[in-house]
Symmetry: C2
Subunit: 217 residues, 2 copies
């Protein structure tokens, strides 16, 4: 794929184009397999432009994790799941929203920072830390609603809002891996369905369909 | 498969040493960042020996996923979680066993085939398919116990044993990503704790600690 050299102001500046190319190419090929040449070609910029904006490929890795955190934060801030008055309804609407955006090509619905963390957790601590900031920062954004839902419904449990918020992210990340393995987004949706069922149970909205039978042994 | 002359019998043959090196180095650096030289150095074999056993690095990727499936299947087959007579006890013992083996260095407890899937899902379908076989094959090994537990306890639910078995693997895979991001295995254990709580709830062993309060709106 050859893209014309710049001259397309509607595609944004070179730095933004490189970040958007990195976001998509890394989700398709992984960080290590994505070369600077790949990114320049995909973004339609020169190698000189790349190194003008990013000293190294690792610096690009940190910048694209930060860019992911900023753009996904904006997406989630504007999403309709904040609308319900009831905090538990907001938590469940968040999970339904996450389920609803699992569609399209694999790279389109999977997570850049989960993908990069998996690869560079030991070899590039600066990228890993930027990914962690994105993952745990997003988890933290759910915590207040879970805490409010616990308080409002008088749930006195031994799980914390912080741990449940993190667990929601673990389920999403793991669902993406199964979806990648199978080449099928249904596998990610299936795990989100189990997560929704779990959260409903934690708040007393679901019970087992049949009373447990007497144990035979 | 031809076995080479054994120079280091105590370390196994060259092919096995290369597979064990790949298992550990890929979990540390990822597949793309792991070079054939890295593997030869780590395994103490020559490049000639590498290409005697594996035509390409991709062939090594498929072989190490298969090796992972075989060795982990043996580990799980011998694990004590099969001992309880009660099928639900076996399911819960499996989850406790998975929790108990999350310790040590990150590469030691995380999953080779989850890591490789994340990277090569688009670029190396043969490796991805070998990883999928390992992940979904292991999930299938849990299905009979979950099915038996459902039948024995009279659970008439809209979730299937197959989907719950897959969900357990999604939670583990996602927990590993959070643990890698934080450099802390507690994050993976935390998600397994939520999973255990979920399974106990599905089978009526847990209820919410307090009755849900009246909703205010």
């Amino acid at each position: 794929m050859t893209r014309p050299t710049k001259i397309h102001p509607e595609r944004g500046d070179a730095r933004t184009r490189l970040l958007e190319a990195a976001r998509d190419v890394i989700r398709q090929k992984g960080f290590a397999a994505t070369s600077v040449d790949d990114l320049c070609q995909s973004a339609g910029v020169t190698k000189g432009a790349f190194f003008h904006h990013f000293k190294t490929k690792e610096a690009l890795g940190v910048a694209v994790a930060d860019h992911w955190a900023e753009t996904t934060s904006a997406l989630f801030a504007e999403a309709p799941y904040h609308e319900p008055d009831d905090p538990l309804d907001r938590v469940l609407a968040y999970l339904e929203f996450r389920r609803s955006i699992i569609s399209g090509e694999t790279f389109e619905y999977t997570c850049l920072v989960g993908t990069m963390t998996q690869e560079v957790h030991e070899s590039a601590p600066a990228i890993r830390d930027a990914c962690a900031k994105s993952i745990f920062g997003h988890a933290a954004s759910l915590q207040a609603d879970i805490e409010a839902a616990k308080a409002q419904r008088g749930i006195d449990a031994d799980w914390t809002a912080k741990s449940l918020a993190r667990h929601t992210q673990a389920v999403l990340q793991g669902g993406f891996i199964l979806a990648k393995a199978a080449g099928n987004p249904d596998l990610a949706r299936e795990s989100v369905d189990h997560l929704i069922c779990y959260v409903r149970q934690l708040f007393g909205l679901e019970t087992v369909s049949s009373a447990p039978a007497e144990r035979e042994n």
